[in-house]
Assembly symmetry: C2
Amino acid sequence: MLESLKMNTFYTRSQEAGLHIMHIALNKQATSQIILLVGKSMTQKSLYRTLVRVQDLTAEKADQLIWLRARVHTSRAKGKQCFLVLRQQQFNVQALVAVGDRASKQMVKFAANITKESIVDVEAAVRKVEQKIESCSQQDVELHIERVSIFVISQAEARLPLQLEDAVRPDGDGEEEGRATVNQDTKLDNRVIDLRTTTSQAIFRLQSGVCQLFRDTLTQKGFVEIQTPKIISAASEGGANVFTVSYFKTSAYLAQSPQLYKQMCICADFDKVFCVGPVFRAEDSNTHRHLTEFVGLDIEMAFNYHYHEVIDSITDTMVQIFKGLRDNFQTEIQTVNKQFPSEPFKFLEPTLRLEYTEAVAMLHEAGVEMGDEDDLSTPNEKLLGRLVKEKYDTDFYVLDKYPLAVRPFYTMPDPNNPKYSNSYDMFMRGEEILSGAQRIHDAQLLTDRATHHQIDLEKIKAYIDSFRYGAPPHGGGGIGLERVCMLYLGLHNVRQTSMFPRDPKRLTP
Amino acid sequence: MLESLKMNTFYTRSQEAGLHIMHIALNKQATSQIILLVGKSMTQKSLYRTLVRVQDLTAEKADQLIWLRARVHTSRAKGKQCFLVLRQQQFNVQALVAVGDRASKQMVKFAANITKESIVDVEAAVRKVEQKIESCSQQDVELHIERVSIFVISQAEARLPLQLEDAVRPDGDGEEEGRATVNQDTKLDNRVIDLRTTTSQAIFRLQSGVCQLFRDTLTQKGFVEIQTPKIISAASEGGANVFTVSYFKTSAYLAQSPQLYKQMCICADFDKVFCVGPVFRAEDSNTHRHLTEFVGLDIEMAFNYHYHEVIDSITDTMVQIFKGLRDNFQTEIQTVNKQFPSEPFKFLEPTLRLEYTEAVAMLHEAGVEMGDEDDLSTPNEKLLGRLVKEKYDTDFYVLDKYPLAVRPFYTMPDPNNPKYSNSYDMFMRGEEILSGAQRIHDAQLLTDRATHHQIDLEKIKAYIDSFRYGAPPHGGGGIGLERVCMLYLGLHNVRQTSMFPRDPKRLTP
């Protein structure tokens, strides 16, 4: 079935491993070696080679003979030599095949013909170099492939849909020399290759870190992780922007947030809960910050005396995330900055909390015309972010006490001023990353507010009933994971921080 | 709006907290006290009371005066006394209000009238008891509510849809005395109350632990957490059992597993990945172990020489989970055992691995008639589990090398025997909890196998194309979270370990 691969290769399968091995047959030495690999002895694990990691190739390993599995990042033949750059994730190392005692001219030629992005096993000697190799992550050594030892584990097609070096080039860089950059749709259409770039590897390792920091911080605070259903029977917030699912002989919806279920868990005595999971919004918004499916980091907790206890828990969690990223993900941050330069993310301790009326006053002062109880437009949010940064030197703050009219029906009104509410948004670099509030925990008040919002009470019966059998005062919020990563790194499109983004126009890959 | 609550109560709102406080007006002392609570001074956090946790009420706290917020679990008036049991999650303590110097007859009467499941704040003295209180988790002390200090924070409706003590009663227990148990549908219909039982609290705290142990173990092994899309453009495995979503002007599907995306991440050099998220199956199966939406704990990893490296990683992860549960969740396990007795879960190190042919031979020996390459029926799986337990004394094992014909198209065939495959299931107490395999990483072989399975190649183009640009040998598996929890605890219905289960007949709450 692999007949199509023509390059003096022969194809074998290891007898035990089910591992497909294509071998570039260079000479008899190589052939005898491959037999070792595919024979029955394969089951004896002691015969397995130890593969080193590229990141471990330092001067300390000089003059050792090692085995390595890596991708061919680039290859450049130059007379009797072939320079390969071998890559593992964000790390790479230079390797040299040169005509001499140990390698034939033919071998150099074959090495040069291995397609980029193929995965190879090589046996090589680690050699110190006199001049640092600036173009590689491993600058102090290179590999000398002296024995006839290159095996192609998986061969890439010759024509790549995009070049990795183009995909990581900063916008405008090298334009004069006619060097290409790759547009976003091409990247996303070929995401499997685009995700191999140092930038993508760094972004998604950092994203994994955000989730871990979020959970670890909350677990330490005594929160319990919950799993909430995504298929729900009724569109909770009036039915707008919700995806419909055909469910056997009836219809169902995809949850726009886990909020109602988080609240039920509070009514069910779990006291403090969090969940991490997909959130679905059937919004036909084609902007840099909207996705139809994103990952929600959700929090809900009972509080004792004041909903600011909830704000404090959430802001402290965010601060722990920011600190964890700053302290443990510097390499990733700097890798992303190379392609997308941005200022380091700034935050205060304790977190700045402004009231909505203060924010409106700041905007008025800056010449913005808006009513006291109008919602903030996206440009005004951005402007406010700049004003706050100038005045307080922080990229993260809380805006508290939103006008009641612009918030969902389940938001607790401010007891002091019925035009406002006990609700808040949180912002990073002037963009909203969290929306939250104290929730109404009294079934009758909830019924009144839902009626005021003209919501069909029959559809939210199960939700309202949850509060009939004793419910503690509580609040929470939902954080958009992709937005947090985008804004922390100073990126400009949420599709960069979603592995396989979904928007009104994109459903693949 | 709370006019309906008639019991000599008055209703106030705290000025700052938005916290609804209903106060049982007993006498003037109480009235003066509530004013403190609702006045402007509320913003001064120093005035907030410190609330103790029920679990901290031990003999060491004897004779201290404390404040507590808890639910009224039961209340029993007896002449001039009222005994309350106050509950926080799985912990509870007895509290006594007695007519005397500090409490009036009226107060005792009011305390006795507080509806079960209401949330109250009480001020009380902690008193050592001479005889242990067997019916409470806090056996060495009781609370004496001596001052006029009971505030109802949230009042439950008088008629509960189910009684917590009925919901935790073991089947058959107390039947002779006419004591009720609660059937599963009633529990699930009123899940918010059912989740308050000690059994439910224990189950879902343990479930939270499973997720944490799964992630922590894999993170330590160098795995990266990924987030995969749930809305997908094509039903990957032939289109059966898939939910359809209307997606703007087109149709989409809900992912039946993250497997294709996990694999793409391997092709994208993430090397070892895991994810935790919802999985959707439009199967009209009304059994004890099927849900239409469940939580998948998914693993995928590149390996070096043999797919057993993958099996070893997964079984070690499971063993770490079993050990973590055994060592850190004994209270939860014993709590669940009180209602649902079961044998402790047994496992071996290293994990037992049987080949499919061995299993078939064991079944043949036990009198089962089946072909060598037939799939295992559910009863045969259960029987095999019993045979394995008898012979090897383990509740957890791996069944390796399934017949190729019964596995999905992307399963790597066994290179030694084309009738078998490099695939495996894992079992707990005789039920499948994981299905996995080495995956085909060669685009041509994948195309051949898809064609053999009569799958429309056009629909899986993005998937197959992922392997065209170099892909390492890899494998993985998907674990059902609810099944792991059910089987570890020896429960008999997966709905018990899903907070808000979804099946063909249940979409609410």
